[in-house]
Symmetry: C2
Subunit: 312 residues, 2 copies
């Protein structure tokens, strides 16, 4: 397997997840983080995560050591970018930090290197307009962690070269991700817009006192979320009426428009004060959230294994 | 196991699903449908579905025959209601049909029998206001099929007796469902309001040309839907920020409000005309939708088995 070298710039949760995802698929990954010792610490945490993935059979038959051997710590940004075909930037979500960083990345990286950002908060045009090499820049936004959640959003700036979009799509497909390629920029991309629509309605329902947060959670975790773990909303509709999506639209557009008409936005903090925070803390105390996050990660791993079996 | 008798009034897809769900848990279920031969035909389809459930281990160690033996066809409405502790009505979604039917149900059923509707389209006050026994009426709305999707929404009318709500909740918990009890009526209840918010945004994203229907589907089926198959939106937020839901709200309320601000409603049919219908039919031709629905049902069964294993 010949695969190009990847530079991981920024080694927090997101950068670590990318390093695992690329290295598991056979790429060499070079870690860089400007904070002293951060890349070394990240590599140690990656080693632990790889052991967990190996234990559940999510390393494609490789050992944790096989994958870890492809992940190195670069002594500096120049060394990280040396020979890289793709830079995956996961720096802090601060626009001025990104604007300055991209000046460096564009200056140092070989002209053919793609510069991709993990940002969820900014469109690529907002931090690449000032670059000579802005045509090779785009957003490649993962869900966390990408080694368990395949969806990744590729969103070009107006000036991104179409060939750069296609190279990134091919790279993502080659490492087993499921890329969504947007045609043009939109605040929030696709995933967070869908999520925001549902979360806002969830807060409104609780704010209105119709049900508790726990009950709204179960409407998803014991209800809507089951189908959505293997089918999106269009396919769900396509199978929910004799005659497919057109029959579904004719039957339900007026109903769904009535339910989803423009409404005032929920006051999240006020809703928390009025009982939701107490309810959440009764479910899981603050000092046990870390443990609950491990439970979530184990469930995501088990679900990834389940989905692979089903899709075979 | 002693369990009360259930009357299943209306034997379409929803009524059949309820019969399986009640009988699997040990209840006797009496089928009634006013259409000639409909209840008998429903029982035959139930037998096939029970074979499938037995094959994947979703009958709690019983045989399909054990469960089917508890499901009988009643010769008339009076016979179906005889001795019933709970009537689950799944008649057509036509208000005048329901209003007339509830006059009969309220006249025939023993005074202590609960009258519960599977309706998704009407609140209970709209079809029970004219009844002497309106205090024993409520909505008990399933997702389909209830024997694979545990969530069920209990929504009382303003005049529903609190004891009737509690009996219905206990009945649902007793048969392994996950009931959501609403405090008061709201058009669409909880599940369809959450669904409508997301589906409307999905249509808007495709209408705006940002991505294809297939890509929006994958944002859910390979992205958001994975966590949502075992965690709702509040717990997801609680685990997505150091400091739990309050830290999450402080970090993301302004972002999500920006993404989910009130927007014009999508024109679903226009969006279908502009390519989505062609895209869906290229994915699955109209004459293979039945086959694809069987695939969905098998996936839901496998997911139900997976979730039971995980929750043990």
């Amino acid at each position: 397997m010949e695969r190009g070298r990847i530079a991981i710039v920024g080694c927090g949760l997101v950068g670590r997840g990318w390093a695992i995802t690329f290295a598991r698929a056979g790429h060499e990954a070079a870690l860089f983080d400007p904070a002293e010792g951060a890349a070394e610490a990240a590599r140690a945490r990656i080693a632990t995560a790889l052991d967990d993935l190996a234990a559940v059979g999510l390393l494609e038959g490789q050992t944790a050591g096989d994958v870890l051997a492809r992940i190195g710590v670069a002594p500096g940004l120049e060394a990280a970018l040396e020979g890289a075909v793709h830079v995956q930037e996961s720096a802090p979500e601060v626009l001025e930090v990104k604007r300055a960083l991209y000046l460096d990345l564009d200056r140092i990286a070989l002209p053919e290197t793609v510069l991709a950002s993990s940002t969820s908060g900014f469109v690529a045009s907002s931090f690449t307009d000032h670059l000579d090499g802005r045509a090779r820049c785009l957003v490649n936004h993962p869900l966390n962690p990408p080694f368990l959640i395949p969806c990744v959003e590729i969103c070009p700036a107006p000036w991104t070269d179409a060939a750069v979009v296609e190279r990134t799509r091919a790279l993502m497909e080659g490492i087993g991700q499921s890329p969504i390629v947007m045609t043009r920029e939109l605040d929030g991309f696709i995933v967070n817009r869908l999520q925001a629509a549902l979360v806002e309605e969830a807060f409104r329902l609780v704010e209105g006192g119709y049900a508790s947060a726990g009950e709204v959670d179960r409407a998803v975790s014991e209800g809507l979320g089951l189908r959505w773990s293997f089918m999106g909303p269009f396919e769900t509709g396509d199978l929910n009426a004799q005659g497919g999506i057109r029959a579904y639209a004719k039957l339900y557009q007026h109903v769904f428009h009535r339910l989803a008409q423009p409404q005032p936005q929920a006051d999240w903090l006020e809703t928390l004060d009025r009982g939701v925070e107490a309810e959440m803390r009764a479910r899981v105390p603050l000092d046990r959230l870390g443990e609950r996050s491990l439970w979530r990660d184990r469930r995501l791993m088990a679900l990834a294994v389940h989905k692979r079996q089903q899709e075979r």
